[in-house]
């Protein structure tokens, strides 16, 4: 049999962008994946499950097969007619596709938002106010002797993070797990917490208080309260000592921080803490980005518009204010009269009220798979998987860009996001002339 092994393939699941996968292909099918985590092999071996292989359009109450041309024409007509179209998703596709997406939103005068707004949007809002002290993951691998995961559970969400980049990795100046301290701060004892040297369990929704107390302790200020966030002050002061006395510390945080009470302010507090720590030692901070190219979606949108997500083009220039121009808010206020979803499943992921509005407007979805969102859509444009069936560049969570590979052909007749979106943009430009 003609088995073909491709080495050093880039994984397209989470923000770790592991690029050491060894993929075995047999007759245009992936049959084996080495070096991958459970999520990665799940995707690599399961990418053919529940695929949509033909464009579908709603006629009456049923979805009927159609051609790309017809589906794109109908989509173009819908979004050019709209007063307030929403373009959402973008974190599971390539930079090249995102770039066309931004132009599409600009051309039609719509809202361009990516999944950042419901994962690390608050992180970006925090950065606007405070800035961030960060680095690439390799710096942490080489130098960090103290690593904190706060409200993040890499064992489940980023399975190879610790072995490739942090406590379990081998760096130039830190050779092994023994050279590093792992601190986990969470509301529950997660599987990551079980590996920690120090685990601090705090009360739900009190990350902010703990962060503030920790910063005060780092500064050496007196704290009047005896217990903060369910943690005794002694323990907080002990932790502060550890942070000050490390040579190179890294704070990773997850959605536990961005989603719980305080949201962007939790991040402001974390960024301020890390900035403060830099007057005593070297410290960096990094969000644990979820989708494989959400960082790319932010970057592409930023270089084209100045803003990383939630961009409003309705008046012909980029405007930005998450809370107003972000997808969930727009939908909750009912301020959107059509939606194009690319590689995302907002019907599953958005709060009910916002999802409900999506199903009351013309909904068009570009996605490889059947999802609750495609099930509620009026038009479905099936697409190829980036990093499996087509190439495209993608950003690791620390901003390192990688070119993903094409490993196999997409299902017969299925187009790529780039092909679909550029055909759509061309059509839209023609119609708005």
């Amino acid at each position: 049999m003609s088995q073909n092994v491709i080495s050093n393939a880039v994984c397209t699941v989470c923000g770790c962008s592991c690029d050491h996968l060894e993929v075995t292909i047999d007759e245009e099918k992936i049959v084996k994946v080495k070096n991958a985590c459970a999520m990665s092999s799940g995707k690599m071996l399961g990418y053919m499950n529940e695929r949509i292989t033909q464009p579908l359009m709603k006629k009456g109450n049923t979805l009927k097969p159609t051609t790309y041309d017809r589906a794109i024409e109908a989509t173009a007509k819908t979004i050019t007619k709209s007063s307030s179209p929403l373009f959402y998703g973008w974190s599971l596709t390539s930079n090249e596709a995102i770039e066309i997406g931004v132009d599409l939103a600009e051309e039609t005068g719509g809202f361009f938002d990516n999944t950042t707004s419901t994962c690390h949007g608050p992180t970006i809002l925090g950065v606007h106010e405070i800035g961030e002290s960060s680095c690439t993951l390799g710096e942490i691998r080489h130098r960090a002797d103290l690593v904190i995961y706060w409200g993040a559970n890499p064992v489940h969400a980023h399975p190879l993070h610790m072995s490739r980049y942090t406590v379990m990795s081998k760096g130039r100046f830190r050779k092994s797990r023994a050279d590093r301290k792992l601190i986990v701060i969470d509301v529950r004892k997660t599987d990551t917490a079980k590996l920690a040297d120090v685990f601090i369990q705090l009360k739900p929704n009190s990350d902010y208080e703990l962060m503030v107390a920790l910063r005060a302790a780092v500064r050496g200020d007196e704290i009047e309260q005896e217990i903060v966030a369910g943690v005794p002050i002694d323990k907080i002061e002990e932790l502060a000592e550890m942070l000050i006395n490390c040579e190179f510390g890294a704070l990773f945080f997850g959605l536990g921080l961005t989603m719980s009470a305080g949201k962007s302010k939790n991040i402001e507090a974390a960024l301020s803490l890390v900035a403060e720590l830099n007057s005593k030692t070297k410290f960096v901070i990094m969000p644990m980005r979820g989708h494989f190219n959400v960082t790319g979606a932010n970057n592409v949108t930023t270089w084209l518009t100045g803003y990383p997500y939630a961009v409003d083009f309705t008046q012909g220039f980029p405007r930005y204010n998450p809370g107003e121009t972000s997808a969930v808010d727009l939908l909750a206020r009912g301020e959107c009269d059509s939606a194009l979803i690319v590689a995302s499943d907002p019907i599953s992921n958005f709060p009910y009220q916002a999802a409900k509005h999506l199903t009351s407007v013309p909904l068009i979805t570009i996605d490889p798979h059947i999802t609750p969102t495609t099930m509620c859509s009026n038009i479905i444009l099936p697409s190829a998987h980036v990093g499996i069936e087509t190439t495209g560049s993608t950003y690791r969570m620390d901003g390192v860009v990688l070119e993903t590979r094409k490993l196999v052909d997409p299902p017969k007749g299925v187009k790529t996001d780039v092909e679909i979106l550029s055909a759509l943009l061309k059509r839209v430009k023609f119609l708005s002339r």
Binding site: V13, C14, A38, M39, G42, K43, G46, Y47, E50, N61, T62, L63, D113, S117, T118, G121, P122, N153, V155, H156, A157, R188, K189, T190, D191, A193, Q201, P204, N205, L255, G256, M259, S260, A261, K263, G290, P322, G323, T325, S326, A327, V328, D329, L331, A332, D345, I347, S348, N349, F350, P351, Y352, Q353, A354, K356, T359, I370, P372, M375, C376
Partner: protein
């Protein structure tokens, strides 16, 4: 019937991450996502056993899912639902001016729903979003 006040967390779990790649209509996805991790004491208090169904309600909505034993340690008073369409039925769209809805740390009530069924993706969409869907392929 006994109702219990709890704090709801939703989040990623390894199995959710893995099974979503199997397809969102798949049985394994349903099993790994339409569930709620509850502390052993808490579940006793509402008179349920693991494997039975529980109703979780917040001010945003209410959903029935299967109660399961925590896969990671879970304190009393906290319940965990993996990300997915079941969790979002009861999460709020208020973003406090940040664009980020409230997915974690929502106060909610827990009660037994022994007799009720957990809706599948199809059923849930029919119930919640009304637009009719049809089988494809």
């Amino acid at each position: 019937m006994k109702k219990l006040q709890v704090t709801l967390l939703s989040g990623r779990s390894l199995s959710q991450g893995r099974e979503k790649e199997q397809g969102k209509l798949s049985k394994s996805y349903f099993q790994s996502v339409a569930c709620c991790e509850i502390n052993g004491e808490d579940i006793k208090e509402i008179g349920l056993d693991y494997g039975e169904n529980v109703r979780i309600s917040t001010k945003y909505g209410s959903v029935v899912i299967k109660a399961i034993a925590p896969k990671q340690t879970l304190e009393r008073g906290i319940v965990f639902i993996p990300y997915g369409i079941w969790a979002t039925q009861i999460s709020g769209s208020e973003t406090d001016g940040t664009g980020m809805p409230s997915y974690k740390g929502i106060s909610s009530t827990l009660e037994s729903a022994k007799k009720e069924k957990v809706l599948t993706v199809n059923q849930l969409i029919k119930k919640s979003f009304r637009r009719k869907i049809t089988k494809k392929r």
